[in-house]
């Protein structure tokens, strides 16, 4: 067992990192701290995960998110996808292993990977809407978010979700507020089987090797650690039974990298074209606002929504 983070005491704890530890800040320059904080990481061991969704509930509770009660659409995924409130989601894939003839139910906890080289941050045109701390945590600062959705395009994992209510983008914070006071993320705390563990990136990488050895001994020759170099490595890593085929796990990206467009953007020429486009879209949006006014929910919309929720579905 990897020792869990001990429970906090009753005394207030000082924050171990903050604004002074920023390594990157979207659309702005920062002076990186002289000394980098120890890199942290969350390790998700798919082979220990029982798909109980305790992590989903812990995430909603800790972050005080109110999620809609949906429907069953014939799958175990509830809600059916990540949302502005559900920053993590269990995804279930049924895989018939051609080598063994056995069925495998590959259950993966989806959410932000906290890339060392974050595509979202690089794509973001709003100063300070996305920040990266020197311990590796990538966090969205909604007060600076302009709701353009570029981060969604920039993310190689399709994680950020735009809120329909406040037009800001949301995703997993790696419980930055808990980690700052020496606690692990809420999902790791809630996980009953230690499929989610939290520590320094070095510890997690080392611990993962023991899990991989165990999986190798059970016939999973291709078991391995998912820490994709295309994004500089990640601060959320997976232990996979089939590390050579991450796409088996509900389409986990195989060799993800930041979209070429984002890279070109950041490097120069495309940036100005892009910024011009941003300007044009912003102006167009403003014009739309002037003409049509702010988005409002009409009585008709309300009725439709009510029908959807309460309507006779038999």
């Amino acid at each position: 067992m990897f020792p869990p983070v001990p429970n906090p005491g009753t005394e207030a704890t000082d924050q171990t990192f903050g604004a002074g530890d920023l390594m990157r800040r979207s659309a702005s320059k920062v002076t990186p701290p002289a000394e980098r904080q120890t890199e942290v990481a969350k390790l998700i061991d798919v082979s220990k995960c029982i798909g109980c969704k305790a992590c989903q509930v812990a995430c909603l509770e800790w972050n005080e998110q109110v999620e809609e009660i949906g429907f069953n659409d014939g799958r175990y995924e509830n809600p059916p996808d990540l949302t502005e409130h559900s920053w993590t989601l269990m995804r279930y894939a049924e895989y018939e292993n051609p080598e063994t003839g056995n069925l495998e139910w590959l259950i993966r906890k989806d959410g932000c990977m906290h890339c060392e080289d974050p595509g979202c941050l690089k794509a973001c045109p709003a100063p300070g809407a996305i920040v990266q701390y020197s311990n590796g945590i990538v966090d969205f600062k909604q007060e600076n978010c302009i709701g353009c959705g570029y981060c969604i395009q920039g993310c190689p994992f399709n994680i950020p979700r735009l809120s329909k209510t406040d037009r800001k983008v949301y995703k997993c914070t790696l419980c930055v507020d808990r980690v700052a006071v020496g606690q692990g993320p809420a999902c790791a705390k809630a996980c009953p089987t230690q499929a989610i563990v939290f520590g320094t990136k070095a510890e997690m990488t080392e611990y993962a090797q023991t899990r991989i050895a165990d999986l190798n001994s059970r016939g999973y020759d291709k078991a391995g650690l998912y820490d994709p170099p295309g994004v500089g490595g990640t601060h959320v890593m997976y232990v996979l039974q089939h590390a050579d085929q991450p796409e088996l796990y509900s389409g986990l990206a195989n060799a993800p990298k930041i979209s070429g467009l984002v890279e070109t953007w950041k490097s120069g020429a495309a940036k100005y074209t892009g910024l011009a486009a941003v300007g044009i879209f912003a102006a167009a949006g403003f014009l739309h606002y002037l003409v049509n006014g702010a988005n409002r929910v009409s009585a008709e919309d309300e009725a439709k929504a009510r029908d959807l929720v309460e309507g006779d579905r038999t």
Binding site: M1, I69, Y76, W105
Partner: protein, 808 residues
Amino acid sequence: MTNNWTDIQNADIVLVMGGNAAEAHPCGFKWVTEAKSERGAKLMVVDPRFTRTAAVSDHYAPIRSGSDIAFLSGVINYLLSNDAIHTEYVRNYTNAAYIVGEGYGFSEGLFTGYEEDRRAYDRSSWEYEIGEDGFAKRDMTLQHPRCVYQLMKAHFAAYTPEMVQRISGTPEDKFLKVAEWVASTANGERSMTIMYALGWTQHSHGAQNIRSAAMIQLLCGNIGVPGGGINALRGHSNVQGITDIGTLTASLPGYLAMPTDAEPTLDSHLAKRAFTPLQENQVSYWQNYNKFYVSFLKGMYGRNATADNQFGYDWLPKLDTTYDALKMFDVMHKGQTTGLLCQGFNPLMSIAYSGKSVAALAKLKFLVSMDPIETDTAYFWQNHGEFNDVDTASIQTEVFMLPVTSFVEEEGSLTNSSRNIQWKWRAADPYFESRRDTDILADLFLRLRKLYDDEGGTAPGPIQAIDWSYADPMAPAAEEILRELNGRALTDLRDAEGKVVRRAGEQLAGFGEMRADGSTDGVQWIYTGVYSPEGNLSQRRDNSDPSGKNVYGSWGFCWPANRRILYNRASADPDGKPWSEEKAYVFWDGQRWGGADVPDFPPTSNPSLRTGPFIMTPEGTSRLFARGFMAEGPFPVHYEPFEAPVLNPMFPAIRGNPAARVFDNDMEIFGDAEEFPIVATTYRLTEHFHYWTKSVRYNAVVQPEFFVEMSHALAEERGISPGQMVSVRSHRGEVKGRAMITKRLQPLQVDGRTLHYVGLPLHFGFVGQARKASPVNSLTPPVGDANAQTPEFKAFLVDVTPLADPVA
């Protein structure tokens, strides 16, 4: 559980069958993942569905719901015919060597003594031959043709791998792998734990499912050893406590028996329970039954219980028959019940055949629901369209809802599956006018007693004689109740030499101190020691493990006597030496028994006395042959569920369990395979807790709506697409839900034909935050296990048809 949660870490093989531990017991299941990752243990899962437990297993074998005995008997046959048993354990610690009387026999699926009109057996021929010395005869060479070992070989020989495949639908290779892994533990060096739950109990032959598993563990020598055991995973956090405390239909606290009509006096009750040893030098601990019984009566009636009035035995009710939940609702359905008090109980959801339950509740004069939440039962009279289609105006039942505190709003103890009694402290204030259950019951009791005092009435004794000496009679404290369960000395207790060993008024340290002369009390003998002179030991939170054997003996208090593994003397050989260094646990050091745990044995009993480790039985051994203790026979037999898709392939003339109770007019409500060709099984989802959490928003978010799990093959055959609404009908009702089409269910080949089945999660009803659904128990049959009357929820027949989706 014979063993405990943390002990699962000591297992080499984990078999989960008749349960879905990862899903229904996710926190306890962490000990399985620990055993796997730290010890390299292998997990195998046998289940009709590829469950979330199967998702993390090393081997999965499918099985037709309701055919577990055929599968397990196949394993027994494999062990016996390949001589893959722990021979010395079997010879010395089971009744394999005992010689059964000549009158015993088995043919055409029935044992000797069957009385068809009663649907019951005369069990007198299922006994040992008794020698002239008064002890049972044995043949330690296991060669005698009527010794249990030889009878077993003959009885189970029919359960070949081919027969298992034919009955259970389990492919032969997948079955054999299970059998081989089981056999790998039959040596004292490795051990296997078996974890089961309602997937085994909720059958008309549930108790025999578990017996079959226990027999496998005995053949392998896996009982009483670390990492072994037969481990029942209980369905609520305190359901172990509920059975311990005597809410079972025929039990008093501590598994003492409720008196029956045939036992008019205390002596007549006790005389039937003498438990005379069947071998020399055996403990036969139930010989102390009278001490526990009298202490219980003293706890109930205090000073009113005296030797002259049989310690108040007359005030106990005497049963004419058992009144389990199914029987209770049958009686209610006949209009013979005036009122029902539901305390933390939602029977409309949890009892079979909810159509009958609604009709029964409508015949009550009053219904009281004591619950922290509004239950479906409390709203049984309300019309919810197709989900609860009742004619409200015609129902005259008066319903009272008394809000009670939830578990976090009150202090007290919980007893978990490991028999560990753990105190918990109040964490939040109660809402509004909600009261503790005990306060409501105390209030009710005191009002009843006052009515008797003021007005008299029939049989005032049982109410007026009760000892109610709590500091605040209106609010008995949880601490007071735990002290009362533990018991104390009422006068100075002296040993044989006259020395005072316990002063009057002191708490008892163990049930060994209890007396039959009225000088001790204690309502619940098995809990004695939890509130000892040292204090409330259920509050201990010391997680040190000095032996390194995953015992954690100073965490809470495990009944009995703080033992973490029952029968642990069996972890050593007859001479008291551990079977292996790896599994050393409790052993003889030349003077005393000691080791990692509290020995389940007289501490100074010399191994040369050959006292058996199974100290509760008069034999001193465990029982492969159950004698007359099981309703349907001393050995398990494959009987089909009452609603079965095939005739019994072994005994086609027998429908269901021949000794299971069927109510007068219930035989006609069983459906047949022609009209209802699909097997259905109900189950729980990890996202929900029974019928509570559909009222909790977050749980409703992560699993919002009822669904019907089925294979691609069935969906194709019936023209059903993913997420489409389907109707599931049994002979008793209908439910509707979305189709979840999955590879995790596959059609099985059973007795030469392709068999389909569906899985139905049981959590959804018409009250709460989750989407409305008809109770899944509108489908299930009201027939129960022949011994325990647990309803047959896990195997019944339905038909499935697609429904047109509403136009968007």
